[in-house]
């Protein structure tokens, strides 16, 4: 044992051997590489959406309905006005149905159901709903509202399919937030003599509101991007309509139909519509994140 090199001696006895160090370095490099790999699709998707989509945008793109002309290269194919308005109308109606229902169920779970067996059953079924493929929701609505009523597609039927899709997301996110409302707030209000319903409406809901907005916006974003449930509940007409009882176009369905076309200008319209759709959804996501950051509960 030489006194000159205790450090070398220690390293030899206790240090990490070259082989282990190499293995560590390789493993970390692989993990880093896989992480970068995970980010590549996002970059590529956004890049190509911007490149192809912006080229398709023009003033007439947003202000005209699709004409249905696809065979002749120089005939006007029209824009996506009916698709954008249809999407907004249907998602708005779906939200108007799913948000009160979802928040109501979440309130029941947190304020009344808690850990009862019935609450467990409800939670389980909400989880089941989360996993149901979106096209199956379309089938449900088709069976009940198209076969069941002997009629045909309509905007409100598309909305109902979308609201089924939103429900579990709204319930789950609202439940998580409601659980974060401090029990002390409820108890103080009750101790002051407030009735239960007043506690819920004046104390619990206002406290939870900013947090719940986050989950709701994410649910709206999810519904806005769905194609499958609308295919055979709302149809894909060309004309703009405000009548929720009539066939109604939507952005995802319009994109889906345009992809199948052999005409380059129609495919280009699909890119433009996709860019509009993704922009809309990213804005909703961004808003959700900003609001969640400002919420005091989380």
């Amino acid at each position: 044992m030489s006194a000159q090199a205790p450090a070398a001696e220690l390293t030899a006895r206790f240090g990490v051997s070259a082989g282990r160090r190499r293995k560590d370095r390789i493993a970390r490099a692989i993990i880093l590489a896989a992480t970068i790999l995970a980010l590549i699709p996002l970059v590529l998707i956004i890049y190509y959406l911007l490149e192809k989509g912006l080229g398709a945008w023009s003033s007439s793109f947003f202000t005209t309905d699709p004409t249905g002309n696809t065979f002749f290269k120089n005939s006007a194919i029209g824009g996506v006005k009916s698709a954008i308005l249809g999407s907004i109308e249907m998602v708005a109606l779906a939200s108007a149905i799913a948000i009160p229902l979802g928040v109501g169920v979440a309130l029941w779970l947190v304020e009344y159901g808690r850990a009862s067996w019935f609450a467990k059953v409800v939670r389980f079924f909400v989880d089941v709903l989360t996993g149901v493929p979106s096209i199956v929701f379309g089938l449900f609505i088709y069976i009940v509202l198209v076969i069941g009523t002997g009629s045909t597609f309509a905007g409100y039927k598309g909305s109902l399919a979308l609201s089924l899709l939103m429900l579990p997301v709204v319930i789950r996110s609202a439940e998580v937030i409601l659980l974060l409302v401090p029990g002390g707030l409820r108890e103080s209000a009750l101790a002051l003599g407030a009735p239960r319903w007043k506690v819920i409406f004046r104390i619990v809901l206002p406290t939870a509101l900013p947090g719940m907005v986050t989950g709701v916006l994410l649910a709206v974003a999810r519904a806005a991007g769905e194609t499958a449930p609308l295919l055979f509940t709302a149809g894909s007409p060309k004309k703009t309509t405000t009548d929720l009882g009539a066939f109604m176009n939507s952005l995802p369905v319009q994109i889906y139909n345009d992809i199948n076309s052999a005409t380059p200008s129609v495919v280009s319209r699909a890119w433009g519509a996709a860019l509009a759709l993704v922009t809309l959804i990213l804005l909703l996501n961004l808003a959700a994140r900003l609001i969640s950051r400002r919420s005091r509960l989380v």
């Binding site: 282990r20 159901g113 079924f125 089941v128 996993g131 194609t227 993704v278 959804i281």
Partner: protein, 341 residues
């Protein structure tokens, strides 16, 4: 002072009149009704779906529907084996490609990356969940598939001696592209859940490993991964549920050919895709067969998701932590919901 010593007469002064108690009762029953409505809806839908699928099952038999390799609507043959196999192939591919990448991304975000990068990195991965299915289809069909076709053809030519992978002409829509895009689509949910499970690994375990002289990788392998195994498997199963039910992107990318796939780079079909593609023109038994496909899809995703939830919940409860989705910070709530957890 004990509450019991307050005479009963005083209580009457404090109690609310029956009329004032009415809104309370009403609200409680209304909310209970809403919660019950969810159950009734699901059960009702399920029964109706079975009812609509019955003619197809009556014609082909339940086993005949699921295991006969003959999907030919114009000849009224509805053996869904090619569809089931297509769903399984694409989902398996999605898991094989997506899960390792998602777990690695989660490991990097929780264990290796600089603290400042942690949250932006997670948000970027989760943004993938914000891209709609139809946009994945569009991008996959017009960008990814043509770009990868030469590489796929090269692999198919080199590995021509390997059954299923090698040989044949590579088509633009094929199983592999569908599986690859599905892998990208399940990345965010698998990654988000893995990250949340990894966040529950006790600090002590990791510090003990490092204190004993383990390298970072050894710490991950011996302290982090074993602790998270069931949670990661649960996350992967949730991803599998997503992949099985994914419709539009697969419809665009799988080629919609109702034959049993002999080739990784050839066209096929899936259960969800057949509904999206054929439902518009379907009549009679054909339509019933599509409802039956929906029923199979429903039951399949139900089983996979039920199993997955059990695993994830168990993983989260091991430490007495709350479940994923109601984790420690606001971002985790957003993460869970955004990734569709």
């Amino acid at each position: 002072m004990e509450a019991a010593s307050v005479p009963g007469g005083d209580r009457a002064l404090l109690a609310r009149s029956p009329l004032a108690r009415l809104p309370d009762r009403a609200l409680k029953y209304l909310l209970t009704l809403l919660a019950g409505l969810i159950l009734v809806l699901i059960v009702y839908f399920f029964i109706r779906l079975v009812g609509e699928a019955r003619p197809a099952f009556a014609k082909e038999g339940v086993l005949g529907f699921a295991f006969a390799n003959n999907w030919n609507p114009s000849a009224e043959h509805f053996g869904a084996l090619p569809l089931v196999v297509g769903t399984l192939i694409t989902s398996a591919l999605a898991l094989a490609i997506g899960v390792p990448v998602a777990v690695a991304a989660a490991l990097y975000a929780t264990e290796l990356c600089p603290r400042a990068l942690r949250s932006p990195l997670s948000i970027l991965v989760e943004l993938l969940a914000a891209v709609p299915s139809v946009v994945y289809g569009l991008w996959g069909y017009f960008f990814l598939a043509p770009k990868l076709q030469p590489a796929e053809q090269w692999v198919a030519d080199r590995l021509s001696f390997v059954p299923f992978i090698g040989g044949g002409l590579v088509t633009i829509p094929n199983y592999f592209i569908a599986g690859l895009v599905l892998a990208i689509m399940i990345l965010p949910i698998v990654s988000a859940i893995s990250r949340e499970v990894m966040a529950t690994v006790p600090r002590d375990h990791k510090e003990a490993a490092l204190g004993l002289g383990a390298t970072r990788w050894e710490m991950i392998r011996m302290a982090v991964l074993p602790y998270c195994r069931s949670g990661i498997v649960g996350g992967a199963m949730l991803g599998l549920g997503r992949a099985i039910g994914e419709t539009i992107a697969v419809t665009i990318l799988i080629g919609d050919a109702p034959k049993l796939g002999h080739q990784l780079f050839g066209q096929g079909y899936s259960l969800a895709a057949v509904i999206a593609n054929e439902f518009g023109e379907a009549q009679g038994v054909h339509r019933s067969a599509l409802f039956a496909a929906g029923l199979v899809l429903f039951v399949l995703t139900f089983l996979v998701n039920g199993f997955a939830r059990a695993l994830v919940v168990r993983a989260a409860h091991k430490t007495g932590q709350s479940g994923p989705g109601d984790g420690e910070s606001g971002t985790s709530i957003v993460a869970g919901v955004a990734a569709g957890a």
